[in-house]
């Protein structure tokens, strides 16, 4: 079974128009790396030169912000949903 990664509208053009992608991985870092393999253009959008997430990118696993977990090392269960969203909304 794979992990579903939901992409925000802002990233879909860089992912061939897809609103989500199915990849394999057991941590957020592995999942995102697999996404970058499938859609190389996304890497530069989401991560900085050090491989960390850009500061206005939020990632959720099962609806929970990964910063409440172990960040990029947060584990991702088989069949889980990973969501990428812009951080600048609200307030």
């Amino acid at each position: 079974m794979a992990v579903t990664v939901k992409l925000p509208t802002q990233l879909r053009a860089a992912a061939g128009g897809a609103s989500s992608v199915q990849v394999e991985g057991t941590t957020v870092a592995e999942v995102l790396d697999a996404v970058y393999v499938a859609h190389p253009e996304l890497k530069d959008r989401l991560s900085d030169d050090d491989g960390q997430l850009r500061r206005f990118v939020n990632v959720y696993v099962g609806g929970e912000d990964i910063r409440f977990g172990d960040g990029l090392a947060t584990s991702v269960a088989d069949g889980a949903e990973v969501q990428v969203l812009p951080a600048v909304a609200g307030g």
Partner: protein
Amino acid sequence: MPADNLKCRECGEVYPLEAKYVCERCFGPLEVGYDFSEMTDVGAVRRRIQAGPQNIWRYADFLPLEGGPPGPSNKLASRAGLPAGCTPLVKAERLAEALGLGEVWVKNDAANPTHSFKDRVVSVATARAKELGFEVLACASTGNLANAVAGQAAALGMESYVFIPSDLEEQKILATGVYGTNVVAVRGNYDDVNRLCTELSGERESWAFVNVNMRPYYAEGSKTLAYEIAEELGWTTPDRVIAPIASGSLFTKIAKGFEEWLDLGLIEGSLPVMNGAQATGCSPVAQAYEAGHDVCRPVKPDTIAKSLAIGNPADGPYAVELARRSGGAIDAVTDDEIREGIRLLAETTGIFTETAGGVTTATLAKLAQRGDIGPDERVVVVITGEGLKTLDAVRGTFETHTIDPSFDAFEAEFATAGAR
């Protein structure tokens, strides 16, 4: 209009003035950029402002609308919709005296149509949304914004959807539903609501989410607080401003308003020392400031100041940067201090504020006690909302004298109470 683009605050990429809030290159926030190069006659600009309506549209030159202020175009004097702004700036002598300070002013933004500063930002977002052809308004709200969006939509005959945390204060839910909006209570906290609305705004592209896809325009509305303070103080800046921080948007845009007018030479003075105020139970920005970080680690909010309960603040990094740059700070106060702040403001000024104003007043008291405020300083405290919206915060904090309807009963009660 002087507004001429949307610009990424992170990488500088420029976009047209559309319903867009995120840089497609780096996910940074987009902000409205202006070209004020033709605004050289400062006297003429001041006169145009003074001849404008008694609401935020007197500052239309500094707001991102293509067609100028909405409504009848004669004399630029619009009273269409639900005009916000031009709220009182009150000299709070008794509050200053109670805290041993020289000069304190209270900017009472509870005196807006739906009783909070959110009417400013919603007015601007809605006017721009209409220019862009939107017919549906929506928002993710901690309460005050819900009131403002529902009220504005009703005034303009627009359909609206307001998304709120399901545990919001009853007063705020009632004061939203009465306008005939679609109230959507989400089982979760504000950050859950915001995540849902961020996703929804991508899927419902015909909706204007005032604080998501319209956020660059929305945020500009907060600059009008600075414009009014400066105008009310005789075209000068105060020495210090104390304002609450939830997402950090209001706090940073107040500074942007002062800086724009200082750059143009419209006002005397310099950027005020900017003090941010948070509740200890939701203080990601104060914690980042304290730790010397430039990113905010999100928190799970647990405070009575629900209007400030954003655990994942979008403009947190910019708020921290502003506090440092202006010589200010970001402090946090406990729920008990918030209740005391509400009482202190009420008992010394006659202004009854909601919990967010309690946070701001308690922070003023904290700065005064710490000796951070000089004796000659002119301080402005920004009160963003109305006490009637958060009645639980004052319930049980005073005694009611219940008596029989007779003179003797009154005399007996107040003789024992020792009153005059």
